[in-house]
């Protein structure tokens, strides 16, 4: 293995950690732990952005890291925790696929993601382009999580994890999107979680539960 400078090693370590966190989220049954893992994922993301900012010296990356920290590590998890407490959803124990099956599908998905990332890796000119495959892997794993869960809260965590992966992909491929776009995306994310919060209350009010099993009646009609 070539001897990379320390910051690149750390960036690679951050990428590997992100992948590990995605798998951990796949196997997690406690919703509180899911949200905590999401917060840790956001923290790793902010660290990676900071490292990249320090390495490349681009000012907007510092801003981006600050934005990620406030939004994804502090504010959104706090919002989600508040929702969990008020709605009383703590467990998501009936996935559609058992843990071993989910893990194996996850591995296949990551391999597929790495293959998908090859042409992009060849094109990108950043130092971190190797991590693009990991970013796509995180996105697809979050997608798998959304598909295989019953509770609405877990699907939301999966959605936010998908956004984390996309953000990491943007960062490793192009040193982040233009600031205005990043601000827009952050705003959208915030509004999405707020809207979801309201939504959950409506669902809970109607069904007394956040199990998505109840939301399947429209399927029988055409």
């Amino acid at each position: 293995m070539a001897h990379l400078p320390l910051d690149r090693q750390l960036l690679n370590a951050c990428a590997a950690l992100l992948l590990l966190l995605s798998f951990a989220m796949l196997s997690q049954r406690r919703i509180v732990s899911l949200v905590n893992l999401l917060a840790v994922q956001g923290a790793v993301l902010a660290t990676a952005t900071l490292l990249l900012a320090w390495r490349t010296g681009e000012a907007h990356l510092y801003l981006s890291a600050a934005l990620t920290l406030t939004l994804k590590v502090l504010f959104l998890p706090w919002l989600l925790h508040r929702l969990i407490r008020r709605l009383g959803v703590y467990w998501d124990t009936e996935p559609l696929l058992n843990i071993s099956g989910t893990m194996l599908s996850g591995i296949l998905i990551v391999v597929f993601a790495f293959g998908l990332a090859q042409p992009i890796t060849h094109l990108a000119s950043t130092a971190t382009r190797d991590a693009i495959g990991i970013a796509i892997g995180v996105v697809l794993l979050a997608f798998l999580m959304m598909i295989t869960r019953r509770k609405a809260m877990s699907q939301v965590v999966g959605f936010l994890s998908m956004e984390n992966g996309l953000f990491f992909g943007a960062m490793s491929a192009t040193y982040g999107m233009p600031m205005v776009v990043e601000l827009g995306v952050a705003l959208d994310l915030l509004v999405a979680v707020l809207v979801l919060g309201v939504f959950f209350f409506q669902i809970r009010e109607q069904f007394d539960s956040l199990d998505l099993h109840h939301l399947e009646r429209l399927r029988e009609r055409s």
Binding site: M1, A16, M103, I107, V110, F114, D130
Partner: protein, 317 residues
Amino acid sequence: MKPVALIAQILEIVIALAAAPLFLGWVNQCRAWLANRRAPSALLPYQNIRKLLHKDAVLAHNASPLFRLAPYIVFGAMAVAAGIIPSLAGRLPLVAAADAIALVGLFATARVFLALAAMDVGTAFGTLGARREMMVGFLAEPALLMVIFVASLISATTALPAIAAHLASQQFVIDPSLAFTAVAFTLVLLAENARIPIDNPATHLELTMIHEAMTLEYSARHLALLEWAGALRLFNYTCIGFALFVPWGMAARDTGPPGLIAAIPVLGLKLLAAGAGLALIETLSAKLRILRAPEFLATAFLFAVLGLLVHVLLAGS
């Protein structure tokens, strides 16, 4: 082969045989301390083995020759493995046979014979233990092979000494793939050696024992050999872990017995740390239901595959 090398090889096996029960005793001591109990002496396993050797063996009427031979075969396999694994030195005569895959095969041989012997007498516990052990082994083997695969991918060889030498010669890098593989290996170690969270080595409760159930019918010298083989197995696995992940401090090539003796303190230090770590993990975990064992091993496999993928992606390009 040169006589010096032969003597060094035999010396290494002897040291391993002698040190294994001590390592087991150290682990038990740490567990006792962590559980706030008075620790038994670290030499207790030796006393156990000595006590057992003095007794008369009692065998069931329907025990076949396999039943009597199995302890010797298991012990022999473990001893040979101890010779192959580079615990003290990297270049010993048995190096030609020190392919990591062959090593896995040796462990598998031991497991198979133990399981066959357990089923030989026809008791319920024996069969129960044998089935569970085979299930755990069957699931742990892919994970172990994947760990070895990643290590050999990094070092471009499956010979354990070569892997160790390659890693020892590099400067320290933060390699996430090695970290993942190390975690996977630890999980496999816990599973294969019947430690918590897969199996409680101190229990004799019918519903929960795996390894103990297989040795239930043995007594006296057979049991002594099996216990020793168990301690050797743990020692071997730990030394494999050292060779794969913490290979510094081994004797240089062609230094003969003096070099080996000089390498003992480093090995001792590593074993102390590993034993304490193992005891810590055992104390912090609870024993899993047997139904959860496949999940545990799937996690180990997952970590190993993750290590592979991360290595291929981040370092292979």
